[in-house]
């Protein structure tokens, strides 16, 4: 068993919690006593933050639409199709024909790269996320 201190994945309070890991599987969550915000407690979502991680519905491989249906594909294929499609649309319709949605569930570093991707690679300020929801 290992205990990994991290931050809760639900609301914006920013509670510190431990994920308890056994054999590369997250088998529990519990609060951090000294964390300045959570101070030894969590709400029911935090106590169950591990609940969905190993759900059978987790996407485990890239999917690509073929003949109208999403089918498993390699990373190489999925990434190349996307890069080609975005490149083509920027070329044909201009940068502002593409939009990017970042995520309030992604890290700062990921959000930084996503907006950099929109602005530096695609050349558009069409970048937003769900701040208003």
């Amino acid at each position: 068993m290992r205990d990994v201190l991290t931050v809760c994945c639900y609301c914006g309070c920013g509670c510190g919690l431990y994920l308890h890991v056994k054999d590369d599987r997250v088998v529990g969550s519990s609060p951090s006593r000294n964390h300045p915000v959570s101070r030894n407690n969590l709400c029911v979502r935090g106590w169950n933050a591990h609940g969905f991680i190993h759900d059978a519905g987790r996407l485990a491989e890239p999917l690509v639409r073929r003949d109208g249906r999403l089918r498993p594909a390699s990373w190489d294929e999925a990434l190349q199709i996307t890069a080609d499609a975005l490149g083509r649309i920027v070329h044909e319709h201009g940068s502002d024909a593409v939009g990017v949605l970042a995520s309030a569930k992604c890290t700062n570093e990921e959000n930084y790269l996503l907006q950099k991707f929109a602005r530096a690679v695609l050349g558009t300020n069409n970048i937003d996320h769900c701040a208003r929801l």
Binding site: R2, V4, T6, V7, C9, Y10, C11, G12, G14, V26, V37, N41, C43, V44, R45, G51, F52, I53, G57, R58, L59, A60, P62, L63, V64, L70, A73, W75, I81, A85, L86, I89, D96, A97, V100, L101, A102, S103, A104, K105, C106, N108, E109, E110, N111, Y112, L113, Q115, K116, R119, A120, V121, G123, T124, N126, D128, H129, A131, R132, L133
Partner: protein, 537 residues
């Protein structure tokens, strides 16, 4: 938040508006209880009688969408009773005379008529808030998700400035953020008008700074908001406008096909896309219509930082390897960029953060090695050796003087009428979360709350022959949706409340597309509906 969460414990008066805090931000509600145990007074502004409202000393149960009328009434009363903070207004604010003149035109009786709150209670609440030394305002989406959302927020700021309840420890104006990193996504410039650290894309100096680091010219015009990207007008109409329609989207960890208002219109927009790529941990409603789906790593499977409501930047640490062949989003973006001819060469999230520190003044000290040793740091933090900021606007507002922005009451976009006599309010439940992709797969959470409940006042229920647990269809001008009735006096007669967590009852089929013209925040909180097809049970 201008304050830190812990400061709330020291407040003497807590004014909470449009926030079901015990359910959505329990950690903040815990501070309310502590403060109340120490003698603090709690004022709750909410059309619903939430759990928190039942603990309030004063519950101002306004009609949905009438915050401005209420606040103007409170401020008028504060001026009448001479409870304003003259010194603060003089030293720290501007535009006060315009504000005062507007308030002199406010009639409390009329405010009472618009809001449905008795004049006496408006006066009492105003007095309690203004008289205390340390009053704090906490608000959530019940304030912002209106067509007058910006006016609502400005009115709370007006109230705080009028009484000098900002710029100090234990007192301020605190919006509570709903997602673990919604603050960080904003800070990182995942917004159409600003680069990281709220630096405007319109500022040539800012663009030049970023261009030097990124090695490319930056686009000049502000981009489209989420609402505009996902609600493109019919293609026939768009030909006549200058803005080109969106042809392709790359969406990470969002589910607009359930979370956006007026879903009919969202579906029409998505249907027109030439290409859609979605990155998510589950096959969400949006991923189901994508051309390419990337399996993303969950929060337990990657490291990086996230920023909480109180501006605290903290390290999220990787606990396990990504499940299956999923990958973190930063890897996916870097791979896409590389394939499109732009190298994003970083060995780790820590290296990405070093670039963020370089270009983002408020994040200048957020190096991973440092965050790893501390419990995170609150921005603004100007350098590695600086401590971070417990509360904002100390000594002066960010923009210099705080500006009073008088606002006037605006009726909701879709008032109730005889065809659609109920006002439908949407929000969140405790055991579920957003579109339910995570919480609905968590057994205890799903057991506690597995039905799309519609809160109906018992009087309305009696009149329409509704019983607890029976099914009913809610119809708006845009769509219909089936819910399970919960008779409760949490809602006022004439109001209904439900959540947007359940894909089998997508409430955004019903909601209006109307939004605040400045913030582009949709009016989720009110639309007119009627009830049909009551199933006997």
């Amino acid at each position: 938040m201008t304050n830190s969460i812990n400061e709330i414990e020291q407040a003497q008066v807590i004014l909470v508006s449009g926030s079901n805090t015990t359910r959505t931000h329990p950690q903040v509600a815990r501070r309310f209880f502590t403060a109340m145990d120490r003698g603090a007074k709690l004022i709750v502004i909410d059309p619903r009688r939430t759990r928190l409202a039942r603990h309030a000393h004063i519950h101002l149960r306004i009609r949905p969408g009438t915050d401005i009328a209420l606040l103007n009434g409170m401020m008028r009363s504060i001026i009448d009773e001479n409870l304003i903070d003259d010194l603060f207004i003089q030293m720290r604010t501007e535009n006060y005379t315009t504000m005062r003149d507007m308030l002199f035109g406010i009639d409390l009786a009329q405010a009472a008529a618009i809001t449905g709150v008795p004049e006496k209670m408006i006066r009492r609440a105003a007095r309690i808030y203004a008289q205390a030394q340390r009053s704090v305002i906490c608000y959530c989406l019940g304030v912002t998700q209106h067509i007058a959302g910006t006016g609502n927020v400005q009115s709370y700021a007006n109230l705080a400035m009028l009484t000098g309840h900002v710029e100090q420890e234990f007192t301020g104006v605190d919006p509570l953020r709903g997602q673990n990193n919604v603050q960080g996504a904003c800070d990182m410039g995942a917004l159409p008008g600003v680069l990281p650290g709220y630096q405007s894309v319109a500022d040539p100096g800012v663009r030049e700074k970023f261009a030097r680091v990124w090695g490319v010219e930056l686009p000049v015009t502000a981009g489209m908001t989420l609402l505009d990207m996902t609600h493109v007008p019919d293609s026939a109409a768009s030909l006549q406008t200058a803005t080109p329609a969106i042809r392709a989207m790359y969406i990470t960890g969002e589910n607009p096909l359930l979370s956006e208002p007026a879903l009919n219109s969202v579906r029409r927009t998505f249907h027109q896309f030439d290409f859609l790529a979605v990155s998510d941990i589950f096959l969400s409603e949006t991923a189901q219509v994508a051309d390419v789906v990337f399996p993303a790593a969950s929060f337990a499977e990657k490291s990086g930082t996230i920023t909480s409501s109180e501006r605290r930047v903290q390290l999220m640490r990787k606990a396990i390897d990504p499940v299956g062949d999923s990958r973190p989003d930063d890897w996916i973006v870097r791979e896409l960029a590389r394939r499109m001819g732009y190298a994003m060469d970083y060995d780790s999230p820590a290296e990405i953060m070093e670039e963020i520190c370089l270009v983002t003044p408020i994040y200048a000290g957020m190096y991973h090695d440092r965050l790893d040793r501390e419990w995170g740091v609150q921005w603004p933090c100007g350098g590695r050796d600086q401590e971070g900021t417990q509360y904002l606007h100390k000594y002066s507002f960010t923009r210099g003087r705080g500006r009073f922005e008088p606002a006037r009451h605006v009726e909701p976009a879709e008032p109730v009428d005889s065809d659609y006599p109920f006002a439908l309010i949407t929000g969140r439940l405790y055991f579920q979360y957003h579109t339910g992709t995570m919480s609905r797969r968590t057994p205890i959470l799903e057991r506690e709350s597995d039905q799309p409940l519609l809160e109906v006042h018992p009087e309305d229920g009696r009149r329409l022959g509704l019983r607890q647990g029976c099914r009913v269809t809610v119809v708006s001008r845009r769509g219909r949706c089936r819910f399970v009735v919960e008779l409760t006096d949490r809602v006022a007669p004439g109001n209904l409340f439900t959540s947007f967590h359940f894909a089998e009852a997508p409430v955004n089929e019903l909601t209006v597309e109307a939004s605040d013209p400045v913030a582009r925040c949709p009016e989720y909180k009110v639309c007119a509906v009627r009830l049909e097809e009551v199933e006997t049970c």
